[in-house]
């Protein structure tokens, strides 16, 4: 029971990370396309600035929980996926300092340099997290010792790449919707048009990904064993459809929440399909890391559960308060009041 709870919490934490950081990663990717003038680009920075750091902490928490609840899986995964994780890390470093450095000089070349950093620093994590999770769903070549027997190229199979592309599209749509919520006028129109044009591509890719999962992975097994679980992929598809409907009705906030639901749904679809596996081994099912052979001791899991149940609701409360604080739209006409 405790193991199942932690497995679910693990999946939920990663989903929350993706659905929150997804919008600012997506906006980083859309920056060169949507930010035609310096004024445009400042708007994009202004709608992400108050939130990106708070969102990224969910990654630290998700990573920390992987370490604390399933240390054997954390050790195998992080050392096995050394190169992609280091790429993500460097991308996040450049991305993070961009917010501190970019506006310190008026020089357009300086600003363009950091805009480039933001673009790559957002694209690489979006793509690589997608590739990594798709490969996790598919199974990775881990041996009996829990040592990874592949290379970076092992991950770049068609299913893995489809997962990467799916994440990039999901995050771009999510980011475009956020921008549509937060702006008026020309920028709002451009963001809305982008969101609308991305949606059909996302639908096609999502269908391909779900069908491919049937062939390439064993994710569906759990769903056919417990048909009630099929509500989850259904709800995910429903959220994707609702995103479109609400976009048409110009209900941008709702569309954004539906898109958040889609991202969480895709992640949880995979996680629930994986159960009880954390890392299925593609070499031999017997080498797979599961909640039974990779978890921390029950005592640690209990303490951590107490901490999570106390502090995560608090975090949600004050992060929601911060979101309400920054709820008004930004516009080039209203001047910025920031300290750095």
């Amino acid at each position: 029971m405790l193991l199942t709870i932690w497995f679910l919490l693990w999946g939920i934490l990663w989903s929350v990370y993706f659905l929150l950081d997804g919008f600012d990663l997506g906006l980083g990717i859309l920056l060169p396309g949507l930010g035609r003038t310096e004024e445009d680009r400042r708007l994009i920075y202004r709608v992400t600035e108050p939130h990106w750091d708070g969102n990224e902490v969910w990654l630290i928490a998700a990573g920390g929980v992987t370490f604390a609840a399933f240390p054997t899986a954390y050790a195998a995964l992080f050392s096995g996926l050394y190169t992609p994780l280091m790429l993500i890390l460097f991308a996040l470093i450049f991305r993070g300092v961009t917010f501190a450095f970019r506006d310190q000089s008026e020089d357009p070349r300086w600003r363009r340099l950091w805009d480039t950093c933001l673009f790559w620093g957002s694209l690489l994590p979006a793509l690589l997290f997608g590739v990594a999770f798709a490969n996790l769903f598919r199974g990775l070549p881990y041996d009996a010792e829990g040592h990874f027997q592949g290379t970076l190229l092992t991950l770049l199979n068609p299913y893995g790449l489809a997962g990467g592309l799916l994440f990039v599209l999901l995050f771009c749509l999510h980011g475009a919707l956020w921008l549509a919520v937060k702006t008026d006028g020309e920028m709002h129109r451009r963001a809305a048009a982008t969101a609308r044009s991305l949606w059909p591509w996302l639908l096609v890719l999502a269908v391909i990904f779900l069908l491919a999962s049937r062939r390439v992975t064993r994710l569906w097994d759990n769903y056919f064993t417990y048909p009630l679980l099929l509500l989850l992929p259904l709800a995910t598809v429903g959220a994707l459809v609702l995103t479109c409907l609400w976009m048409r009705r110009e209900a941008w906030w709702r569309a954004w929440f539906a898109s958040a639901g889609t991202i969480a749904g895709v992640t949880l679809f995979g996680v629930v399909g994986l159960y009880p596996h954390l890392i299925p081994s593609s070499l031999d099912p017997a080498y797979s890391l599961t909640v039974y052979n990779a978890a921390s001791s029950p005592f640690t899991l209990k303490i951590m559960l107490g901490v999570a149940l106390t502090f995560v609701p608090l975090v949600i409360a004050y992060q929601t308060w911060a979101h309400l604080l920054f709820r008004e739209k930004v516009s080039a006409a209203a001047p910025e009041k920031k300290l750095y």
Binding site: P50, H51, D53, G54, E56, V57, I60, A61, G63, G64, V65, F67, A68, A69, P71, T72, Y74, A75, A76, L77, F78, S79, Y82, L85, M86, L89, F90, L92, I93, F94, G96, V97, F99, A100, F101, Q104, E145, G146, H147, S296, S297, F299, T300, I303, M304, V307, A308, F311, V312, V315, Y318, A322, L325, F326, P335, E336, K337, K338, L339, Y340
Partner: protein
């Protein structure tokens, strides 16, 4: 070089760089909170400008601390997977608790604080910087508790081929852990005080913004004075705890080769690791080391030869780093004591101001030296007495670690230069004009 050495170097680069920014975050957040509290209490606009001026520098420093901190969480898994697997039950949970209790709080409220000067009531705005300060310091307490567990593991049991948690309370309350916490936080506060004094001295030497920077200087001075004195007292107790719990580290810190009663303290010596002796020893004070370490002139202090060569830490590095740290610690007491005497006559003592300006890097040096003593002095253990560093490394290729090590050096080098350049730029530019002269906006 093998994968162990490369991973050690990579971790050293990552932690040292991270700790170039962390101490100022810990101390300056508190100082800014004090400044803003004064503003809320008195309504004096100058204190608000103080909080804003130091806040600009703080935010750049904070950003670097955040991005370099992520590296560390990744590295336990990427480079030290055997360690993570063996101690994750304990170490991983402390890290996860740090993230849930502190990182969310500081990252959410640092954005609130930076972006809502015109939106929140002064009280609420002031509360947000207090929350940032509290969260940063709380996060330091958690991560230092984790480090203390690596220095002196308690509250665990070896079960299922790994260290499992048995007594959480023992881990978070162990006295040695609180020694480490106080020692490190105090060091961070000294650094922050010196930083504020140094930047203020720059402007006072030019006789600009005199009232503004005299107030800043005095606040930094009181802070640094209190903590410099506290550090000497606490450092002594900390050393005594090391003598009891990590005798090999103490022997390396003092370059003491022979186990002996009434061990001496030598003012000047050069350790010769290869021949297990000291080349030069000048100024032996008999019994002083025994007295300092065990509060008894006749106490037996274990020498390095008491430990098999493969269980001794690198002597020269540990010894030198310890001397640098202690020497600077006394210098800080001297400088802040002098500052206290001159506190009302700062402007007529340009020499003292100039010394304080150039003293900014010294606490940085002292803190890094302190970490060398702690971490190099713990070798060859990653968890003292429980797991050796060479058994902790990931099953990865040396080439992978080598390439990323070079990447870290380049990227961190570049970002470090940029960050300190920006902080220096803000520091030199001085505070924004007072609202009476200008509109107050930006």
């Amino acid at each position: 070089m093998d994968v162990v050495m490369l991973s050690r170097l990579q971790f050293a680069v990552a932690t040292f760089f991270h700790f170039l920014f962390v101490p100022l975050t810990l101390g300056l957040s508190l100082l800014i909170a004090l400044m803003e509290t004064r503003y809320v209490r008195t309504g004096n606009e100058e204190y608000r400008r103080q909080a804003r001026f130091w806040g600009k520098i703080f935010l750049v420093n904070f950003a670097l601390g955040v991005v370099t901190g992520i590296t560390l969480e990744f590295q336990f898994g990427t480079n030290w997977s055997r360690y993570s697997k063996y101690v994750g039950d304990i170490f991983g949970s402390l890290l996860a608790i740090e993230a849930t209790t502190s990182f969310f709080l500081e990252s959410t409220f640092v954005a609130v604080w930076a972006l809502t000067w015109d939106r929140l009531s002064p009280r609420l705005h002031c509360l947000s910087i207090w929350l940032v300060a509290a969260a940063s310091n709380l996060s330091a307490i958690w991560i230092l508790t984790a480090n203390a567990w690596m220095q002196h593991p308690v509250g665990y049991v070896i079960r299922n081929g790994r260290a499992e948690l048995e007594n959480f309370w023992a881990i978070v309350t162990q006295p040695f852990g609180w020694q480490i916490i106080f020692h490190t936080l105090t060091g961070a506060y000294i650094l922050s005080g010196f930083f504020v004094m140094g930047v203020s001295a720059y402007h006072l030497l030019r006789e600009q913004h005199v009232s503004f920077f005299t107030k800043s200087f005095r606040l930094g001075l009181i802070f640094a004075l209190i903590f410099s004195v506290a550090e000497v007292v606490q450092g002594h107790l900390h050393g005594a705890a090391v003598a009891r719990l990590q005798p090999a580290k103490l022997a390396a810190m003092e370059a003491l080769w022979e186990t002996q009663a009434g061990a001496p303290q030598t003012l000047f010596l050069i350790p010769d690791e290869k021949n297990e002796r000291n080349l030069v020893e000048i100024g032996r004070i008999p019994g002083l080391l025994s007295l300092l370490a065990f509060h008894d002139r006749q106490a037996v202090v274990r020498g390095l030869k008491d430990f098999p060569p493969e269980e001794r830490p690198p002597v020269l590095l540990t010894f030198l780093a310890f001397r640098v740290m202690v020497g600077l610690g006394f210098l800080f007491v001297l400088l802040t004591g002098l500052g206290w005497l001159l506190r009302d006559r700062l402007l007529v003592n340009p020499l003292y101001l100039r010394v304080m300006l150039y003293a900014i890097p010294l606490p940085y040096l002292a803190l890094q030296a302190g970490w060398i003593v702690t971490e190099v002095g713990r070798q060859p253990w990653i968890v003292y007495g429980l797991m050796k560093t060479k058994d902790a490394v990931s099953p990865i290729a040396a080439s992978q670690v080598g390439v990323t090590l070079v990447a870290f050096l380049l990227v961190y080098g570049l970002l470090g230069v940029l960050a300190f350049y920006l902080m220096a730029k803000f520091a030199k530019a001085g505070p924004e004009p007072a609202p009476a002269q200008a509109g107050g906006g930006e």
